[in-house]
Structures are given as C-alpha cells and as structure tokens.
C-alpha cells in the first residue's frame, strides 16, 4: 500500500465504557479505500461496539473517528449525511416489517430525495438481481427465509450507493446451508472494490476475501495483519488460543 490510497476510516485512540465495563480501550485503526478488513475475536470483546461507533449508533467517550473525511464526533457534522455513505448489515437483518421487499429497498433513497420512486424501483430490481432474488420484489418480509432476508438487507444498504459497508456477523443467525449465498454476495462486493469492515466467525471466508484481519480481545486490537500472518503464523498468545478453539469447532 505504498501508493497513495485514500484513508476511508480513521480511528484514533477511541475509548468506550458502559458503566464500569471498559469495552474499548485506546483503539486505533485506519481503513483504506477498497480495503476489506475482517474483525475476529471472542464474543464480548467489543467488535460490535466498535463497528456501531463508525456510523454513530454508539458514541465514543473519547478519541477521534473520521469517516469519509468527516469528523463524526464533531456535533456540527450532519451525521445523517455521513450515514448515507455507510451501509450497515445487522446480524438480525432488521428488515422493515411494515414494507414489502422492494419498499424496504426504496424507502431511504426516496425519503432522502436521492432518487424518484421510479428510479429507486429500477435500481432496486437491479440490486435484487445482484443478490440473486429477482422474483422477490413484491414479497412481504415475513415470507422470506433468513438467508433471503440478509441478502435483501444487503440490497437495501446498497441502494444508497454507499462507499463503505459495515457487516456485523451477517451470517451468525443463518442456517448453515444458506450461509454460502450471503457470503457469495459479499465476495462479489469485495471484487467490485467496495470498502468493507466485516465482523465474522467464518474463518474460511476471511482467508479468502480479507486484505487484513484484525483480532479483537478485551476491548483491544491484539494483533492485525494479512490473513496468512494471522491464520498461519499468529504471534499473540490469545490469538493462538482463540484460533485453536475456532478451528476445532
């Protein structure tokens, strides 16, 4: 990465506590344009909290967070504008239960005046094609399987044309046989050059698509490096323990 790639996410010495629970300790991390960063680590280590801080679903107690060049801890920054460029995919999909599939996808672009209803619907159909569900446009959310829901959720996030995508354990709530469908969509996005930060336990997937793997433990980044470094030559003792546990399972 010697050539001048743009920094998309700049996090510097961020701290966050819930009461006595010091969840994030002096976290610093830069993510470059087109980079795919996979975050691994035991449950409760602060991965979700970190991810949710990047689009201000949580606020840090201290430290600096810049996304797309905007300092989002500055109250003068219009966080809604910044969020338009950050797509987020949740473990539990969080599709809007009161809308059909296509309305889930078109709601934000239309409400935020990015597109007319017709444009948004055209775009939504293309996205449904991309995620492999072209015939689900008018289906109610409740009729979808988990794997289908997650792919629609990705399409919904993509409808805003984000340049960063955040994934918080997107396959953890899915039946094993449909995990592949979702991962395929994500691989496709990576190939298209999307900047992505992904929390996952899918180690095979991480090896395949990650430019960098970050190991979280006890609210700290204990180690980070290329997939080869992390998976074949882990230095941190806790990482070694973690990997041996995960690989066994």
């Amino acid at each position: 990465m010697s050539e001048e790639k743009q920094v998309k996410v700049h996090v510097d010495k961020v701290n966050k506590s819930y009461g006595d629970n010091h969840v994030l300790r002096d976290i610093s991390l830069d993510v470059m344009d087109n980079e795919v960063v996979v975050m691994i680590g035991p449950s409760g280590s602060g991965k979700s909290t970190f991810l949710r801080m990047l689009n201000q679903l949580e606020k840090p107690d201290s430290g600096l967070i810049e996304v797309d060049g905007y300092d989002i801890s500055d109250p003068k920054t219009n966080i809604n504008k910044v969020r338009e460029n950050i797509g987020m995919v949740f473990q539990n999909f969080n599709l809007f239960n009161n809308y059909s599939v296509i309305d889930n996808i078109t709601l934000a672009p239309v409400q935020l005046g990015k597109m007319t209803k017709a444009e948004a619907e055209k775009k939504a159909k293309e996205l449904l094609e991309t995620v492999g569900l072209p015939d689900k446009a008018s289906a109610p959310v409740s009729s979808l399987s988990g794997g289908q829901k997650q792919r629609i959720a990705i399409a919904r996030a993509l409808a805003m044309d984000p340049d960063i995508m955040l994934f918080d354990e997107p396959t953890s709530a899915l039946d094993p046989e449909v995990v592949g469908d979702v991962l395929d969509v994500m691989k496709h996005l990576a190939k298209m050059g999307m900047t992505m930060i992904i929390v996952t336990h899918e180690m095979g997937f991480a090896k395949q698509v990650a430019d960098r793997v970050v190991f979280f433990e006890s609210g700290k980044i204990q180690e980070s490096g290329t997939p080869e470094q992390i998976f074949t030559a882990p230095k941190n003792e806790r990482l070694q323990t973690f990997l041996s546990k995960v690989m066994q399972a």
Partner: protein, 483 residues
C-alpha cells in the same frame, strides 16, 4: 421535529374545539336579555320533563311567566342539583330555580328572592312499615337527597332520633332505595313525594297532617349580581299572587291528574309503551351519545397519538411533557375532570363553556391519556433494530418514527384502540352529571317523571348494548382491514 408533522393534526383538533364552542354559544342573537338559568329536572312537581319531553313544573311555569312579563329570554340548563347550584355560584349561570330551600348558609353565597313556596316536609316509609314514629328510626338509615330543604330538615333530626344518613343525587334513586328496603325512610317535600306516590311509587307519607317546617323555596342568583333579574322575579311573583296566576300554577301541578304530565297508564306500565311514548327522547339521547362518542373517539385518538409520539421523541422535554400529561389525566376521575372543566374552569378563564364542549374536552383529555399510554407502549415495543436500521441508512429520527416505528407500533395497538373506543362510549354516560342530555340523562329524566326505574333502565341498557355491539363490529372490521 416530530411536532412539525403533527401540526396539521393539532390544528384540526383546535379547530374542531372552536367549532364546538361556536355551535354551543351561537344560540340567541336578538336584543332581549338572555339569562342562563340552571335547574334540576328530576324534581317533580317543581322541575321535570313531561311526556313530550318539555321541561315543566311549578318552577318552570313561574320562570316562564316572569320572563314573559319582563320581556327577557332564558336558556335552561338542567343538570344534577349540586352542579346546577355550583354553576350559579361560579357565574356560569345567572340564576337557579330548582325547588331550592332558603337558608343562612346559602345567603352567604347567593342573593335570593322572596319565597315562592312554603315547603312542608313529609317523612316517608314503605306502606305498612313497622316504623310508625320517628323514634322507631333509631339505629336505622335514612335516605336524603343532597342539597334539598327536606334533606336539611331530616339531617336536623338525626341526633334527636339517632338515625344514620345516606345521601343521594337524584330523587328517584333515593325513593327506590327505600322501596327496596335498603334504607328505612326518607324525608321529602310533601308535593314532591305526593307526585311520586300518585305515579305509583310504593311509599307512604307518615305525617300528612303534621308536616315539618323547612322554610321557603326561592330563586337564587350569584351574590351581588343580576339584581335586576331578582327584582323582576320578586315583583312579578307578587303580581302573580295577586292576579291568581300563582294559584293556578300551584293547582295545575298539585291537583291535576297525573296522566296530564306523565301520559296514559298504557304508556307507562309496559316497556313497549314507555319506549313508544318516549321514542323521540330516546332517539335524541342516543344521537347525543353517538355524537359525543364519535367526536370523542376521533379527537381522543388523535390526542393520544400525539402524546404517544411525544413520548418517544428524542427530546427530554417532549418526553417529560407526555409522561406528565398522561399521568395527570389518567389519574383524574372522569367526573371530577368534567366538573372541573364545566364548572371550575370558566370562573378562571372567564369564558362560558357549553356542556357538550366541556364533555368532549373531558373525553379527549381522559381517553386521550389512556390512548397515549398504550400508543407509547406500542411504539416502544417495536424492536430497537428497526430504528437502528432506519438511522443507519441516513433517515432522520423523524422519518424513522413516521415511516417505520409508527406503522408497526400502531398495528400492535389496534386491539387496545378497539377496547378504548368501547370504554369511551360507556364513559359518555358519566357526562350526564354535567347535564348533557345523552342516553343516561334521558333515562334519568324519564324515570324522574314516571317512576318506572326498572323498565326505563332496561331500555337504556339494551340500547347501550346494541350500540356497543355495532361499535365492536365496526372496530373488528377496521382491525381486519389494517391487519
């Protein structure tokens, strides 16, 4: 920010209130003075509704004559006795004529006319009762109607004869309490109880030859006000006594056949007869109940929705305000709120509030608070992930609320809404207390005239059940449409 979206809602709410006020106040436009006179129309033969649902009685005829001879008009406000008296004390009404006894306590608050009737108090038991003299009442309970001359007379004998007292708000309920044996006896103005007994009330006067002296009955205005009206009343009363008009009126009510006012026996002794002879009154009462219910449901739902949305606002101020309003108006009994708005509030703001408006406002505030509470609960029960997903896309809090949370939250609350609609319908009956002539008050007035409590209340109950059934059907249809 949510407030911006609700502005049209609020504007509509306020506009409808003003419309209601306007309808209530646009009564007379001619130049004659118009007085508001309150009364209690359950007090035959002084004040009651005849078979044609006109307000008649000794008081009504005297008042009509005074108005005619002095060239003024008046608007009659019939309601429960205590409320009627309060209306005058607070300046909401100009005068009260309600068979009201003159005493020193009242002279502190009101200016009073010369007595137009000398009340003789009878004491009354069931026929063939073992209670033969007042001494037999020792340890027993006596029924009295609040605020009447007879009640004051009865209460003055309480210690001497060692009985207990149970107070009632309307005459007919009090009589029936004695008929049913719940209380041993009652005290009442002789003409009033005579009227009821002639009408078939199974009671007997114990002292027809030896009536208690309770003093005079007068016309009251607020102390220091309406001196001219009082003066005209006194002068005309004296003139009427001289020219025989007064005797004619008294005679008309005390010595005529009951059917003159009540209608034939067949109109009163069968449920069908009562229903037929009062069909217009029942219909009007039902219409008033329906108007109150429909307007109440719509406006209370809007107000509740507003409270619910305020309750999930980002701003602490709006959330706090919502919580406070819900707390206050859920805590207040409906009747207290109705009296406060109808009788208390005008004294403070200096504007008379028509009964219908006051009743509607009561419903909006009370039912709206309950609605607000369950609407807020419905919104809060929507999974937080829905809000987070909406915000992560860049939608504002307001957009997320209206496009994602409100539709889902409201769907959860549909059964609560249906429930609240039915409660609203039933609660309109409480508004009879401020004299709104809805179904319950209509029943009260008919019973006061014909003493057929069982049949009349059975009719009223059936009408309520029918309307509630219709409302339930309508609500369930709505529920299906929304789901």
């Amino acid at each position: 920010m949510v407030m911006k979206r609700l502005k049209p809602l609020l504007t509509a709410l306020v506009a409808m209130l003003f419309a209601a006020v306007a309808v209530g106040t646009s009564a007379s436009a001619d130049s004659k003075p118009n007085y508001i006179i309150s009364t209690d129309a359950t007090y035959a033969p002084f004040d009651f509704q005849d078979k044609n649902n006109n307000y008649v009685g000794i008081d009504m005829d005297i008042l009509k004559e005074v108005a005619k001879r002095n060239n003024f008009t008046y608007t009659l406000k019939p309601m429960s006795f205590n409320a009627a008296a309060q209306m005058v004390a607070n300046g909401q009404a100009d005068g009260i004529i309600a068979g009201m006894m003159i005493n020193d306590a009242r002279k502190q608050v009101y200016d009073v006319s010369t007595p137009y009737y000398q009340s003789g108090v009878a004491w009354i038991t069931k026929p063939n009762s073992k209670i033969k003299s007042l001494s037999d009442l020792k340890g027993k309970t006596v029924a009295l109607k609040t605020g009447t001359a007879a009640a004051a007379y009865g209460a003055s004998l309480k210690d001497k004869y060692g009985f207990k007292i149970k107070y009632f708000n309307d005459t007919d309920t009090m009589y029936n309490d004695v008929v049913n044996g719940n209380t041993a006896a009652t005290f009442e103005d002789y003409p009033v109880i005579q009227y009821a007994i002639k009408n078939g009330m199974k009671l007997e006067v114990r002292n027809p030859k030896n009536l208690g002296n309770a003093g005079g009955v007068g016309f009251f205005v607020k102390k220091g006000e309406n001196a001219q009206l009082l003066q005209q009343f006194n002068t005309t009363l004296a003139a009427m006594k001289k020219d025989g008009t007064y005797d004619k009126i008294i005679n008309k009510y005390l010595n005529s056949k009951q059917s003159t006012f009540v209608g034939s026996a067949s109109d009163n002794n069968t449920t069908w007869g009562i229903l037929k002879s009062n069909k217009n009154a029942f219909f009007k009462g039902l219409l008033e109940t329906a108007k109150l219910t429909i307007a109440g449901i719509i406006l209370a739902s809007l107000w509740g929705l507003l409270l619910g949305i305020m309750g999930i606002s980002e701003s602490k101020f709006w959330r706090g305000l919502s919580t406070t309003i819900i707390y206050a108006f859920r805590g207040l009994p409906l009747m207290v709120l109705a009296f406060f708005i109808y009788i208390g509030l005008p004294g403070v703001i200096g504007v008379k509030i028509p009964a219908f408006t006051a009743g509607l406002l009561t419903l909006i505030l009370n039912e709206g608070a309950y609605t607000g509470a369950f609407v807020r609960g419905g919104f809060e029960s929507v999974d937080v992930g829905q809000m987070e997903a909406a915000r992560s896309l860049g939608l504002t809090h307001r957009q997320a609320i209206w496009k994602v949370i409100v539709p889902q939250g409201l769907k959860i609350t549909v059964p609560s809404f249906v429930n609240q609609f039915i409660i609203t319908l039933k609660d309109t009956s409480i508004l009879s207390a401020i004299g709104i002539l809805e179904l319950t008050q209509t029943g009260t007035l008919i019973v006061a005239r014909n003493s057929q409590g069982f049949r009349v209340w059975a009719i009223v109950a059936v009408i309520y059940l029918i309307v509630i059934t219709l409302l339930t059907w309508l609500s369930n249809w709505l529920k299906k449409k929304i789901a």
